[in-house]
Symmetry: C4
Subunit: 232 residues, 4 copies
């Protein structure tokens, strides 16, 4: 039997960030991390509370959802992760939570408007909220179709998953991703902060306007553009 | 004198979860745990702050509210617990708190709409808010009648206590229950999170709609249906 | 020189509860405790952050605001405390904070409606908000007049300081009191929780109604009436 | 090479207050501290998370943005700090955060009204929100122009930087300053509290009025006037 300790350990560390960052209670979330060479990913087991989770509980799965290593059943959202890894070849980690403010926007079925530089430091468009899927898709292969729902939303809105690393699923909650699991978790925390500030902004000024395009561009480019000068 | 250490200890542990989960301050809550064979339950003593509560302070009471063991007076809500244990034969623990968001919905006298999958993962209907009881019942055997108020609410709305493990008492606050005390406390925390998200959802979109029935069914069934595949 | 260590220690302990309970940042609050026989009270020194406060810094003052013991200047609110101790002969401790939700109601210049049993467990009327005083009184002996402002508010509304142990000063913040300093601090925390829940209640239902009188009476009496059965 | 340990250490300590006070997550903020004799200031390096920041990482820069000491790239906001130190000769420290409530007012593009004595204890006018700058200025030397944006706002509103030690940048967030770095950080925390209370005040009473001038003057003067009697 192959040894996946390194993958399990990375996945475990990323999962344990979720309660530390205040993004989950009980079992309300999961993080996965992929090995592109092996075409396998490690993911949290289903329904295990964070307090009792151990690195050796992490399950290793292939892109067709077959368990390759591990005694436990993988997250019930595993097919969604597999779908995204298969279709989006540049992502290294995926994170799903039920964090308070992101879920509230998802339940309100509204995109989160780009109201400020905190948002523009991370992405230029509004944070998309995918509409709930049709009854047929829900009653079919639900978690696989959730992956399709995300892809459809990005295609319809003309978004790139390499620039926009987060989405809200209508009436459900957020999925985020990134070059590795740590970045996926970082994006979940950032999304939660942006969602909270955008909510408060609308309470203080219901007519609040989006950030002007020049300022969006400036903040995004200084962090992510070819002449970026943010960071080391 | 009989030894109820095991029952007291389970009750104590469940009670101490309440401040740890941010659900109570001072003495604003109580948890009980029942022994169905003995027809007795253990409950927090009245008015004792969580900081100074000890396992040996836990009081053991029969279904007619007689103290069977313990030096202290049991919770002032004891008759409500006894009533529910007597009428609902499948519950093993009961929890009452004055947690912020659940109380706010109770004070607003509104059922909490099923806005998302976090809610549907736990129950399919809206979380019921029982209307305040009549003046006669308040001035009568108030805590006993509070149990009746809960039963009447479930009957009127056609709810099953085995599927819906939580209720709001109008102008008062939440009661939750479950197969044991830990599940009752879990339900109090989940209720608080759902109440908070539902409040925020309505602030972001006052016209927010309930989750579509297919999605409610899907999420509830994957956790609780006969073909459930959530958890281990 | 007389030894006031016991009084200083009680005052210090009560003051240190304020940051522990999340009611203050920096220097935004003060607690005093009175010795009725000596006609003296101990109070926090002015402008000293809680992190560096020591029991020996606590200042002892008489009812005419003269420092009897201590090297530091007493709280700038000392005259308000002295005024209340002189006029309200049954109180043993006074607490003043700028806690978030209580201040917000004070800034909104609104009484906090009695929306639920959490409120009724502690007092039956709405929590009064005293209107800001006249310019002459502000420009006169401001802190002394603040005491008068509280007394006038209670007289005008027909309230008893022995039943209602809290007040909001319009555009300023809360004062609370009680039989001792610990009770005064308890009342500040309870007020903050009630203020938060009342705010949320109005957000969820702007037409939310006060608790019905029978329920107010029931909850208040079971804790404070002559046949009270709450607590030990 | 000169030794700037003292300056780096003061800067490091002030920066580490930001996560401790709940004002930043990840890398969302920076504090600088100036040495007026040397005409140099120490500032946080760009994009370094607070968890891994060390005192020796702090960069020392002159007023023309040249790095004088340090291996790392200074904060991307360095030119704004330099601009303010050059133009406002009495400030000793500057702090920038993306704290939740201050950012929300900035995104709403509203000045924060002076609603109460917590505000008046620190400044008499509303907290100014500078309008977003023109596209030319954004596309030019953005961070330098941000300094100009702040100066223009103060000139237009007739404010003194020695009395008003805080500003909101429209659609961005707060900058605060003070006689040293600790005071600049203190002002960021105070601003966040005032911003939160002002938001809640408007939710409770959308017609809430500013504090009356006599009360503003009284509270400001007792802390900052020539006959101030607050503090030691």
């Amino acid at each position: 039997m192959r040894n996946f300790e390194h993958l399990q350990s990375a996945c475990y560390e990323a999962n344990m960030q979720l309660p530390a960052l205040g993004l989950v209670v009980y079992t309300f979330g999961n993080v996965s991390v992929v090995d592109r060479e092996l075409e396998l990913f490690a993911i949290k087991p289903s329904g295990v509370p964070y307090e009792s989770l151990r690195a050796e509980d992490i399950v290793v799965v292939d892109f067709d959802n077959n368990v390759v290593s591990g005694q436990m059943r993988p997250s019930s959202d595993t097919k969604t992760h597999a779908f995204l890894y298969k279709h989006w070849t540049h992502i290294g980690g995926i994170c799903h939570t039920h964090s308070t403010y992101a879920v509230s926007w998802a339940q309100a079925q509204r995109d989160i408007p780009n109201f400020g530089t905190t948002h523009a430091d991370h992405l230029t468009p509004d944070i998309p909220c995918a509409p709930p899927m049709s009854d047929e898709l829900i009653q079919g292969d639900y978690e696989y179709n959730t992956g399709q729902q995300i892809l459809d939303c990005f295609e319809e809105k003309g978004l790139s998953y390499r620039e926009v690393e987060m989405v809200l699923l209508g009436n459900h909650g957020p999925f985020t991703w990134g070059k590795d699991a740590a970045k996926a978790v970082y994006n979940s925390k950032v999304l939660e902060e942006i969602a909270r500030m955008a909510y408060l902004t609308l309470q203080i000024n219901p007519q609040a306007a989006r950030l002007k395009p020049a300022l969006i561009q400036k903040h995004y480019e200084r962090k992510h553009g070819k002449d970026a000068y943010y960071g080391q």
